[in-house]
């Protein structure tokens, strides 16, 4: 599997990272370098192996579904590059 410039543009779009046209070739080369190297996993037969989902075997912990922190609007929006009256401000999304 090899990544071409069109694919790089597509994944950059999915990742929401602007990429200039003159960066595409180098990025494709770097990603292909890494992908070629990880291809060696193809040698491993893992057909009947369960994928690892937890580094340490443990049962999923459950807790009561209750509110534990309240009235944090000021703290939560304190770091926003754009905030007004406790709300985030973003460019217009719906016309």
């Amino acid at each position: 599997m090899s990544v071409d410039q069109k694919t790089v543009r597509h994944i950059a779009r999915l990742a929401r990272i602007a990429v200039r046209d003159d960066e595409l070739e180098a990025l494709a080369r770097e990603l292909n370098g890494i992908l070629d190297w990880v291809e060696q996993l193809g040698e491993v037969d893992a057909t009947d192996v369960e994928p690892m989902t937890s580094a340490v075997a443990m049962a999923m912990k459950m807790r009561e579904d209750v509110v534990t922190g309240t009235n944090l609007q000021k703290e939560v929006t304190r770091n926003a590059p754009g905030a007004e009256d406790g709300f985030y401000v973003v460019p217009k999304v719906v016309e």
């Binding site: 929401r16 770097e30 370098g33 890494i34 060696q40 192996v49 939560v76």
Partner: protein
């Protein structure tokens, strides 16, 4: 260097308790060393006022014979840990100006026990790197230099600020995090001790996330005892992290005195990799002899999937990072670059806010998780991960602990590997297996290279058996008698 900063954490703790020194004196001595060490670029933020205030409170407690396990001990904090009302950057432009309104659990535990915060330590951007060169705030410089050379060397990464600060005595100990070797490799490069605990031993809450199934916090310290003391405070159950484990925190320091008579040590034959420098191989052999002399039995074991660990890691870690880093959108915190519309704003913000290595990994992760490729890459990697963990489980049916080198080389020069991602990734060849399997590992300084640079040996333990790990590490430390220190060239 003042005599006060020569004390280890354990010695300083004892002197504080006996009222031979005060925390204000000790903290003042460290703040002075930090102010003179700008050339190392280890700290990105100094919290001098806060440090002096915390020291004063500790002194009042110590005066009354009160105080916690770390009362009055000045520490450096990796800038990946959120600290309330103190800027936290993760070494990234995209978090510029971010001031957390909350405290990470690990640092809260340290303050609960009386520790004093000196400042925030530089690291690779979002902990992605093995040399501290990807930080937006510039590379950290290793206090160590090659014999007869003034070339600037890397301190390892991603916890390069932590390792450099401990080695240069700019703090008594430091917090760090390890996703693929980011505690142990920098410790090896700087002649310090780095302990990556079992996954789940320390809470991840409030630590800027990189790859959530691999990330784990731990200490970098001057010696094994100091690492044991720090882990005792950092570890513990936390309801805010569902992967944190609810089991008692043992007295790690007490484990050190127990010796290793009868301990069974495994030597994984697959770690004898091609092209490994002879001096590292020799160091490993010496480590085996030391453990035997201390009463351990040594046998060869096999971890057949070792060679697949790095490729597995470079699927799993980018995949998880691409998801974790989706939160940096220019809306809730940090940098925003305005655009034509909201998508344009996201794209411009992330293009400007992320450095080259972070962008590469986010793109790589997005690709391996994208439609049609998930099974071929991510699912396959998670299956191989099971096989790697199984290798370890089988080895631990025969032995108690494993001994390996920490890194395939000593510290390299700044710029030497930064244009070649794959050669940089190979730095983690001996450490990354431990993260994939969730095990605890520790790096102990064990000797000097021909060029006069520190080299480390790694011990790998069973899940939640940090006590045996520390016992064996202490035996290596005693036998190695590593007392070398970098010559102080950085003082302003």
């Amino acid at each position: 260097m003042s005599d006060l900063t020569k004390l280890t954490l354990a010695a300083a703790r004892d002197a504080l308790k006996k009222k031979e020194i005060t925390s204000s004196e000790l903290t003042g001595a460290y703040l002075k060393e930090m102010a003179d060490a700008g050339a190392l670029n280890a700290y990105v933020t100094t919290t001098a006022d806060k440090a002096q205030e915390m020291a004063k409170i500790s002194d009042a407690k110590l005066q009354k014979g009160e105080g916690g396990a770390l009362e009055g001990i000045p520490l450096g904090i990796k800038d990946l840990f959120c600290t309330k009302d103190v800027p936290t950057s993760a070494g990234s432009h995209i978090l510029e100006g971010f001031v957390p309104p909350y405290e990470s659990t690990v640092t809260a535990n340290l303050w609960r026990d009386g520790a004093v915060m000196l400042g925030k330590l530089n690291n690779d951007e979002f902990a992605m790197g093995s040399s501290n060169e990807t930080s937006f705030y510039g590379p950290v410089v290793n206090p160590w230099r090659r014999k007869g050379s003034d070339a600037r060397l890397v301190p390892g990464g991603s916890s390069g600020g932590s390792s450099a600060a401990v080695a240069a005595k700019l703090c008594l100990g430091a917090t760090a995090t390890d996703t693929g070797g980011s505690i142990r490799q920098p410790a090896a490069f700087t002649g310090t001790v780095g302990l990556k605990p079992t996954y789940g031993r320390c809470s991840r809450w409030g630590i800027v996330a990189f790859a959530s199934s691999l990330d784990q916090a731990g200490p970098i310290a001057r010696d094994v005892r100091d690492a044991a003391i720090l882990l005792g405070s950092m570890a513990g159950h936390d309801e805010k992290d569902t992967t944190s484990v609810d089991r008692p925190v043992p007295d790690y320091e007490a484990a050190l005195g127990q010796g290793i008579k009868g301990l069974s040590v495994g030597i994984p034959k697959e770690y004898r990799v091609e092209g490994m420098p002879k001096e590292i191989d020799d160091l490993w052999t010496r480590g085996i002899e030391w453990l035997k002399a201390a009463g351990a039995t040594v046998k060869e074991v096999s971890l057949p999937h070792t060679k697949y660990a790095l490729p597995t890691y470079y699927i799993v870690a980018p995949a998880e990072c691409s998801s974790n880093l989706a939160r940096y959108d220019g809306v809730r915190y940090g940098l925003r670059v305005e655009g034509r519309d909201i998508t344009d704003m996201y794209e411009k913000t992330r293009a400007e806010g992320f450095g080259a290595e972070v962008r590469r990994r986010v793109l790589m992760g997005t690709y391996v998780l994208s439609a049609g490729y998930y099974d071929a890459y991510y699912l396959k990697a998670q299956k191989v991960r099971t096989l790697i963990a199984r290798d370890f489980a089988e080895a631990y049916s025969e032995v108690d602990v494993l001994l390996t080198p920490t890194a395939p080389s000593a510290a390299f020069a700044i710029g030497e590997k930064s244009n070649d991602p794959l050669s940089m990734y190979l730095n983690d060849v001996f450490t990354v297996t431990v993260n994939l399997a969730g095990l605890p590992g520790i790096s102990v300084p064990a000797g000097l290279s021909a060029e006069g640079l520190p080299l480390g040996l790694q011990l790998i333990g069973r899940t939640f058996d940090e006590e045996t790990l520390l016992r064996a590490a202490y035996a290596i430390e005693q036998a190695a008698g590593f007392t070398a220190e970098p010559e102080v060239w950085w003082r302003a």
